[in-house]
């Protein structure tokens, strides 16, 4: 993830002046399109390895960014939703794949520790339904407007969220 890999030929994050040569790389095209649609909330687009790109998105624009990814940029397959518990924040990582252009995007959204609430994307991709239930069950992230946010792996009357770092099992 060095400086040259970041978006833009001048090494500055963000798009504004298009470079003079056409960029053939599909990953960079996607990152550019995403940053164009959401200039304020999408940041840090990098290419991790051939075929895998990463971007950070603010949690307020998460739902619309996902809709753009699915409908305009052709990312039809949501692979995985992970939740990571750092010391000062929760990070929710979405891995979304595109069948047509053979790409995988890693979309990272952060929430503060005392307010782990994110929008649910299960109306965009049906496969997100159970994955979000699992994140709620094990980590305690609440997904707004999820059709049925219940515990799925642990028994229904359990009160703790085991994967948090302050849970000593």
């Amino acid at each position: 993830m060095s400086e040259e890999d970041k978006l833009g030929s001048t090494g500055v994050v963000g798009i504004e002046k298009a470079p003079s040569r056409i960029d053939e790389n599909p990953g960079r095209r996607v990152l550019r399109a995403l940053a164009e649609s959401f200039p304020k909330t999408v940041s840090g687009g990098t290419q991790l390895r051939p075929g895998v790109i990463r971007a950070k998105v603010d949690r307020s624009d998460l739902y619309s960014a996902c809709r753009t990814l699915k409908e305009d940029l052709g990312f039809e397959h949501l692979t995985m939703i992970s939740a990571v518990d750092y010391e000062d924040r929760f990070e929710i990582v979405y891995h979304i794949a595109s069948y047509q252009s053979r790409l995988l995007i890693e979309l990272i959204s952060t929430t503060p520790k005392d307010d782990p609430v994110v929008d649910s994307v299960s109306s965009v991709w049906g496969g997100a339904n159970w994955q979000e239930r699992e994140s709620y069950d094990l980590m305690g992230i609440v997904f707004k407007s999820h059709p049925k946010l219940e515990r799925i792996l642990l028994p229904k009357d359990v009160l703790y969220h085991p994967l948090r770092k302050d849970f000593r099992g």
Binding site: L154, P155, P162, F167, G169
Partner: protein, 177 residues
């Protein structure tokens, strides 16, 4: 006046006395004990209940290579028809009431075999928050089969040891002695 209720009570008492308490019952038991014991230990039906990896080895033990059916060991689907409950995987807290209910539904005489490390003591997941470390915390176990996963030969050896155990503890069917 002679009522049918009295007749039933009378016939119950007669049969109970003749068959169980009097020497007639003991005599019948003495004659048939060996035969019934031989039949029981050579037709051990276990419950078709697979939890985790050892369940695959349990399925392979019914396959042509290891073939436990030549010993009379056949899986049955309903707990009411089984003699043996074979616990072959880790028991989680969510599964514990269901497993206890299955054990209670089996009719006497019944035996329990714990197959694999997870059922014996928790296995590689012994320190997890949702595991019961060992099935003998809530069900009495007769035979332990070690291994992770236990080989099919070890499973058949466990069944043969159970047969020996049954042979040593011969009990009559009528009197229970």
């Amino acid at each position: 006046m002679f009522r049918s209720r009295d007749f039933l009570k009378w016939s119950d008492e007669v049969l109970e006395y003749v068959l169980r308490k009097s020497p007639v019952g003991g005599g019948i038991d003495f004659v048939t004990k060996d035969f019934f014991n031989w039949a029981t230990r050579n037709s051990l039906y276990f419950l078709h209940f697979g939890i985790m990896c050892c369940a695959l080895e349990m399925a392979v033990a019914s396959a042509p290579r290891f073939d436990q059916q030549r010993f009379g060991i056949i899986p049955r689907s309903s707990p009411r028809q089984c003699d043996v409950l074979l616990v072959n995987g880790p028991v989680t807290k969510k599964l514990k009431p269901a497993l206890r209910r299955l054990y209670d539904q089996m009719p006497e005489p019944k035996w329990v075999m714990a197959m694999g490390e997870c059922a014996i003591s928790g296995g590689p997941f012994y320190d997890s928050y949702s595991m019961v470390p060992g099935v003998d915390r809530f069900i009495p176990v007769d035979i332990y089969i070690p291994g992770c996963p236990a080989r099919p030969e070890a499973l058949i050896d466990g069944f043969l040891k159970l047969q020996k155990l049954i042979k040593e503890n011969k009990k009559g069917l009528l009197t229970g002695r």
